[in-house]
C-alpha cells in the first residue's frame, strides 16, 4: 500500500511539477530535460515548432506517455510510480486532444456522462444534472441527443471539453485543440477555454494560436528540440524574446 502523498501536498506548492523529464522513443530522445512548475489556477501555454516534443510533454502529465527519466508530479503524486493509482491521477487531470476523440457510438450527453457513471460509479441523476449544466456552459444543450458525427468540429471539441470537465478535474491539458478546426469555429472553442480559465481552472495548453496564448497565459514556454528554450510572461516572450530560436520561430508564425 502506497501512502497517499496528496495529504502532504498543499495548494501553496505547484499543482503540476516536472523535473528533469527525459523521454526517448528507441534511441531518439524527444524530451531532453524538462522543468515546469504550475501553480493552482495558473494558465500556461507551451509553444514551439512541430516535432519539438510538445504533445509528448503534455502526455507525460497524465501518464499516457511514460517518461524515461525524471519526475512528474500532480498534486504531489508521482505520475510515473510503478504503484501509481492511475484512476486517482486521471480524476485530477483532464485532457483534450486535437482530434476530439469522442465516442462515436454514444450521444453527446452519453459521452459526457459515461466516465463519471462507469468509472466513478456516481449517481446517475447527479451526473446527468452536471452533464447538462456543462453542455449549457459550452452552449450545446440543444445537441445533447445528437451523435458526434452529426456535429461540426468545433461542436465536437466543445463536447470533448465538457466530457473531461464532467470528471471534475483539477488540471486541464489541451493539446492543439483548435488545430483541426475551421477558422470560424476556432473562436468558439477558444472562448470556452477562456471561460474555463476565468473560472480558475489550472490549464496547460499546447497551441499554435499565438494571439490566444498571449491573451490567456500567465506564462509561456517556448520549446525546441526537446528543451525549454525560454519561458516567461507572454509580454516578455512575444515582445522581447531573448533567444534567437524564439525570435526565429515567432517571426515565422506571427
Amino acid at each position: 500500500m502506497i501512502m497517499s502523498p496528496t495529504e502532504t501536498w498543499s495548494p501553496a506548492q505547484p499543482i503540476v511539477s516536472l523535473h528533469g523529464v527525459h523521454k526517448s522513443f528507441g534511441t531518439f530522445e524527444v524530451l531532453k530535460g524538462i522543468d515546469i512548475d504550475v501553480m493552482k489556477g495558473e494558465v500556461v501555454c507551451i509553444i514551439g515548432p512541430s516535432g519539438s516534443g510538445k504533445s509528448t510533454l503534455i502526455r507525460t502529465i497524465n501518464g499516457l506517455t511514460p517518461v524515461s527519466k525524471g519526475s512528474v508530479k500532480v498534486e504531489g503524486i508521482e505520475v510515473h510510480d510503478a504503484g501509481l493509482d492511475k484512476l486517482a491521477l486521471r480524476r485530477k487531470v483532464g485532457i483534450v486532444f486535437q482530434q476530439y476523440n469522442l465516442f462515436p457510438h454514444r450521444t453527446v450527453l452519453q459521452n459526457v456522462m459515461m466516465a463519471p457513471l462507469l468509472v466513478l460509479k456516481e449517481n446517475r441523476k447527479e451526473v446527468e444534472a452536471r452533464a447538462r449544466a456543462l453542455l449549457e456552459k459550452v452552449k450545446l444543450r440543444d445537441k445533447e441527443e445528437a451523435y458526434p458525427a452529426e456535429l461540426s468540429g468545433g461542436q465536437q471539441q466543445r463536447v470533448a471539453i465538457a466530457r473531461s470537465l464532467c470528471m471534475r478535474p483539477d488540471v486541464m491539458l489541451f493539446d492543439e485543440v483548435t488545430a483541426a478546426l475551421d477558422p470560424e469555429t476556432v473562436k468558439e472553442v477558444l472562448v470556452t477555454i477562456k471561460d474555463l480559465a476565468g473560472d480558475g481552472m489550472t490549464c496547460m495548453l499546447v497551441t499554435h494560436e499565438m494571439g490566444f496564448a498571449r491573451e490567456i497565459s500567465d506564462r509561456v514556454y517556448f520549446t525546441d528540440a526537446g528543451r525549454i528554450v525560454e519561458s516567461g510572461p507572454p509580454s516578455q516572450i512575444f515582445d522581447k524574446p531573448q533567444d534567437p530560436r524564439t525570435r526565429e520561430f515567432l517571426s515565422k508564425v506571427l
Binding site: 486521471r90 465516442f103 462515436p104 457510438h105 466516465a115 468509472v119 466513478l120 458525427a149 473531461s164
Partner: protein, 248 residues
Amino acid sequence: MLDLIAPFFERLNDTTGLNFSPFYDSYDWGRLLEGMWVSIKLITAIIAVSLVIGVVGAGAQTSRVRPVRWLVAAYIEVFRNTPPIVQLLFFYFGLGAITPQVDMGGWYEPMIGSFGWAVIAIGIFGGSYNVEIFRSGIEAVPDSTKEAAESLGFSQFKIFVYITLPLAVRICLPALTNNIVSLAKTSSLAYVIAVPEITYSLSGIWSDSVNVPEMMVLLFLYYIVLVAIIARIMSVIEHRLALPGYGQ
C-alpha cells in the same frame, strides 16, 4: 394446420405421385416439425457459442501475455485448416469416448449427447472464424479513441467492453453475417452423428416413404427460407446499430 392442407397433398400424391408425406401424414408432420425445431435450437446454440468464443478469443489476442496469444493463434490455425466434418467426428467419437458416463438410475448415458457435441464442435469451428472477424474489427478502432477513454480513467477491461467492442461489432457486422449464415448451413453436418435435426428427420421420412426427391426439395426450401430469415435479422441489427452520420 395439417387438416387444412392434408386434402390437397393427399390428392397431389394420388394424382401425380408427388409424395409430400409430412403434409398429410400426421406422424411425418411431427417428424418434420421436430426436425425443424431441433435444427433451430442447434443453430442458435452454435451461433451463441461461436460468438462468445469470437469475442473472448479476440479479447485474448490483445492480451499482453504472449502464451495466451499463441494459444489463440494455434486454435485458429487448427480449426480453420481442417474440415468441420473431421472436427465433428473427432469430438463425437474421439472425445465422446473418453467423457464420463452419467448414472441415470440403472442405465448409463454419456454426459454429453450428440446434440451437445454438435454444438461444441461446430461452435468451436465457427468461433475460429469469429475470432479473426472480431479481431479485424477491433484493430479498426482508432487508438486515439481508446486513449481518450483511458484518459477518463477507464480500465483496459472497461475500454474493451464499452468502447472497443461496440465499435468493432459495427465494423465487422457484414463479415459476421456471412459467417453466421455459413454456420447455419454447416449445422446440417450434425446429421452424421445422428442429431435429430431437419436433415436427419427428413432422411428418416424418405427411407420410410421412399420419397427422396420430394424431401430433398423440402430440405432446400427449408434452408433457403432459414438463410433469408437470418439475413433479414442481421440487416435489421445492422440498421439498428448504424450511427447517424458515421462512416459515410
